[in-house]
């Protein structure tokens, strides 16, 4: 557990020393979301209709921006070797890295989303549902993304390949996440979607670190 916390702490420290990387992803999120009204037109009825999808797709892309750096630096400077030799199971350390990734790349999106949602004329209650859906969904993005990042470690054209591998796997999270907000807008209640997102998250927490670890061991050989 000590090692787990040390990894989380270290990655957070590193992110704090390299603030620009966190902010780049956030600005990307903001800009992409703000582009849609400019492209589609300012009628608030239309904007409300597209808001869930736009915000979720933009969050998904922003979370993916930082994925290919998730393990690359550790792989290059030998930290990954040390991690795999640790008496703590590698899967636990990988979970630590995923947690740190979510705290630096996922959580800021959750916090920023309601502000951007205002641009789309969403009601306070829908903004709340949006935040909850992102709160449950962005960890899934980090978890599944970790598998892709580990698989494309040290592979030619890793960045594009990563999106090719990971984006299809993001579809359920996108559907349930955007669906929750949509259902709320339609007055249907978002509970079903949110519990499915929670189920996805539970599944991801169980399986993703294991799969990412298996992929990392291949890269280490």
């Amino acid at each position: 557990m000590n090692a787990f916390l040390a990894i989380v702490r270290r990655d957070l420290l590193l992110a704090a020393r390299r603030k620009s990387e966190v902010f780049t992803a956030l600005f990307f999120f903001m800009i992409v979301v703000s582009l849609f009204p400019l492209g589609i037109g300012p009628e608030s009825a239309t904007l409300r209709r597209i808001a869930p999808g736009v915000l979720w797709v933009a969050a998904l892309l922003a979370a993916m921006l930082s994925l290919n750096r998730l393990f690359a630096a550790d792989h290059q400077d030998g930290t990954l070797e040390q991690m795999s030799l640790s008496p703590t199971p590698l899967a636990l350390l990988v979970s630590g890295k995923v947690l740190a990734h979510w705290l630096t790349a996922g959580l800021p999106l959750v916090l920023l989303a309601p502000v951007l949602g205002l641009q789309f004329d969403l009601s306070p209650r829908s903004l709340g549902v949006l935040m909850i859906s992102l709160l449950l969904g962005t960890p899934v993005l980090s978890l599944v993304g970790a598998i892709g990042a580990a698989l494309t470690l040290g592979v030619r054209g890793g960045g594009v390949l990563l999106s090719l591998l990971v984006l299809p796997l993001y579809i359920p999270a996108l559907i349930f996440g955007a669906g929750a907000v949509e259902a709320d807008l339609a007055g249907l209640g978002a509970g079903g979607h949110l519990s499915l997102l929670g189920a996805l998250l539970a599944l991801g927490v169980f399986f993703a670190p294991w799969a990412a670890t298996a992929a990392l061991r291949i890269a280490l050989e």
Binding site: L151, L161, L165, L169, I171, I175, E182, L196, A211, I218
Partner: protein, 249 residues
């Protein structure tokens, strides 16, 4: 029992599987041709005209079997991946990579024929029907597998990475299907859905089954054929390759 185990592992070595695949594939290819001929005969001459969809419905005789095969082949790839990870056998990775292009091809054909069926029936080349959408995502999964394994130079590493992709994918296929279906029912009002296909006549079912069987035999034949090429590429420095009769001139 132990005798049988040893025999199985004997065929798991590329050196003995290469000639075995060589003798087996023509049989499967022959079976595929016969079944294909029977299937085509049923689909064009035995199956009657559909009173709702006219002759256009005959596309399902390849559309449905192609969809079945694309899903089935992905499962078989995941099966070989699991075997490869558990027993660390070289051949299973080769089987997976021999199957992937055929699976991707069937996924593509399923989409293609789906579009050609949808246009006259629904008036659109593409509808966001749950099955078509999940078939599209399955196609993406195949492309991801092929792209990843061909980007890694060391074949053994490529096999292992591919195995993980196949297993993660196979866990995700039902989730994706379920989520897309959910999404589809939420969005689709009164428009047509493929689930409302006409009640299947027995002849149609037979035609589809026989075509599916033909595609299945074709897949086995082509996978065996392709795995021979892969074995040779990977084992080029092994002595048994140098001793093969086709290598003497």
């Amino acid at each position: 029992m132990s005798q049988r185990l040893i025999n199985w592992f004997k065929f798991a070595s590329p050196a003995s599987f290469y000639p075995l695949a060589g003798t087996l594939w023509p049989w499967f290819a022959g079976l595929a041709s016969v079944l294909c001929a029977v299937g085509l005969w049923i689909s064009f001459f035995v199956a009657p005209t559909d009173f709702q969809q006219g002759e256009g419905y005959r596309i399902i005789f390849i559309h449905v079997p192609a969809s079945w095969m694309s899903m089935f082949i992905y499962c078989v790839m995941a099966f070989w991946a699991a075997i490869g990870i558990t027993f660390n056998t070289r051949l299973s990775g080769m089987m997976s990579s021999a199957l992937a292009p055929t699976g991707a091809l069937f996924a593509f054909l399923s989409l293609w024929t789906g579009a050609l069926w949808g246009k006259p029936m629904w008036g659109a080349w593409w509808v966001w029907d749950a099955r078509l959408t999940s078939e599209l995502i399955l196609f993406f999964l195949y492309i991801g597998y092929i792209a990843l394994t061909s980007a890694i130079d060391d074949p053994r590493r490529a096999d292992k990475a591919g195995a993980i992709v196949a297993l993660v994918g196979v866990i995700n296929v039902p989730i994706i299907y379920f989520s897309v279906k959910w999404w589809n029912t939420l969005h689709q009002g009164a428009s047509v859905s493929m689930t409302k296909a006409p009640t299947m006549a027995t002849t149609m079912l037979w035609g589809m089954l026989i075509m599916a069987l033909a595609f299945w035999m074709y897949s086995i034949a082509i996978a065996l054929y392709r795995v021979r090429a892969i074995i040779l590429e990977r084992e080029r420095h092994a002595t048994w390759v140098a001793e093969l009769p086709e290598m003497q001139r």
